[in-house]
Symmetry: C2
Subunit: 203 residues, 2 copies
């Protein structure tokens, strides 16, 4: 019973799932509405019925992904804030790995695609929060002074590379189960790195 | 005189330049031979004349990029080897930033594009060299023991993020001069990170 309920997806969910799979596999610009309809096994007119326009379909897919919650400041210690931010980044991208994969492909293009502005704003949000937390740590004399742009490159860049490797391995393995990424060991590694390079008087 | 010589590019160079620009801007799969001919201001048949097939054109663009020189072992000290490898990686990608940009876009796809096998092999080459150098350092009791996959993610991931940021800034600035990336300060940052986390008895 539970199983059959799980399998019965609404047409709009089937459209979203098909779009995600195809964008992730072939890239955002190479997939047509017809491809999506074919993969979702529905009539192409259903896509307009449910989503009105392509823009609405894209927004339905990405709307939650582009929100960066701002509750990192709830705790007072800048080290805890930084770890919360990294944890949030890893968790968000693990649970939305197909969106992460699409973003990676799109980020390098400069053709003003539908996504490019949103990708730019997302990166700026993270950079701003990063920079605020780092500056707070410097002012409080907890962090050693480093170039905050490079610290961003180091922590976000390595997180991206980690996620990317997990996704590549999953894709090339041909495994049909849902991808579940255990990011905990990598998070612990990043924590050690942060303590080694940012914390003052680290032994 | 020097200027006019500089401007007179052979048709085959013009084709390669146009292809690079377009692939970099719109992605590898979205660009047709017609687009390339239009941008290079030549007849479309010239592309077959000079390159015979699309495959040959792609190979002409990428043939040097996919070579990883193996002279990192020329020096004996694993720390020097590691720094040479990072320096080589940054230098190669700075001087071929458009190819780097195309690779980033293509790497996430799983559609067995012309490039996907070569991208996979390139990454594996770097991983192997990395792993050999790290193991040598561990055996010689110079490096502290860490997960070598994560060290790869940390150093290559942050280098990618750094390069990516430089390219994005250049693209959005609308600057028409050739992009010259000064990676030296970032290399020094990575050197400090390596010394802090990998070298035994680092103060």
């Amino acid at each position: 019973m539970a199983n059959s309920t799980k399998k019965k997806k609404s047409p709009s969910d089937r459209i979203k799932k098909a779009a995600l799979d195809l964008f992730c596999q072939f890239g955002f610009e190479s997939v047509s509405v017809r491809d999506i309809a074919l993969k979702a096994n529905i009539n192409v007119s259903m896509i307009s019925y449910y989503f009105n326009s392509n823009d609405n379909l894209y927004q339905a897919l990405f709307k939650d992904y582009f929100k960066v919650e701002n509750d990192f400041y709830d705790v007072d210690n800048p080290l805890e804030q930084l770890l919360n931010l990294i944890d949030f980044y890893l968790k968000t991208n693990c649970s939305n790995w197909q969106l992460f994969n699409i973003i990676c492909q799109e980020a390098g293009k400069s053709n003003n695609s539908l996504l490019s502005t949103e990708i730019f704003c997302l990166k700026e949000s993270y950079k701003n929060i990063f920079s605020k937390i780092l500056n707070k740590g410097f002012s409080a004399n907890i962090f050693t002074i480093h170039n905050s742009y490079y610290i961003f490159d180091l922590l976000i860049g390595s997180a991206n590379q980690f996620l990317f490797e997990q996704i590549s391995q999953y894709k090339s393995s041909g495994n049909k189960n849902e991808l579940v990424i255990d990011y905990k060991p990598f998070f612990d590694f990043q924590k050690k790195i942060i303590e080694n390079i940012l914390i003052k008087n680290a032994s």
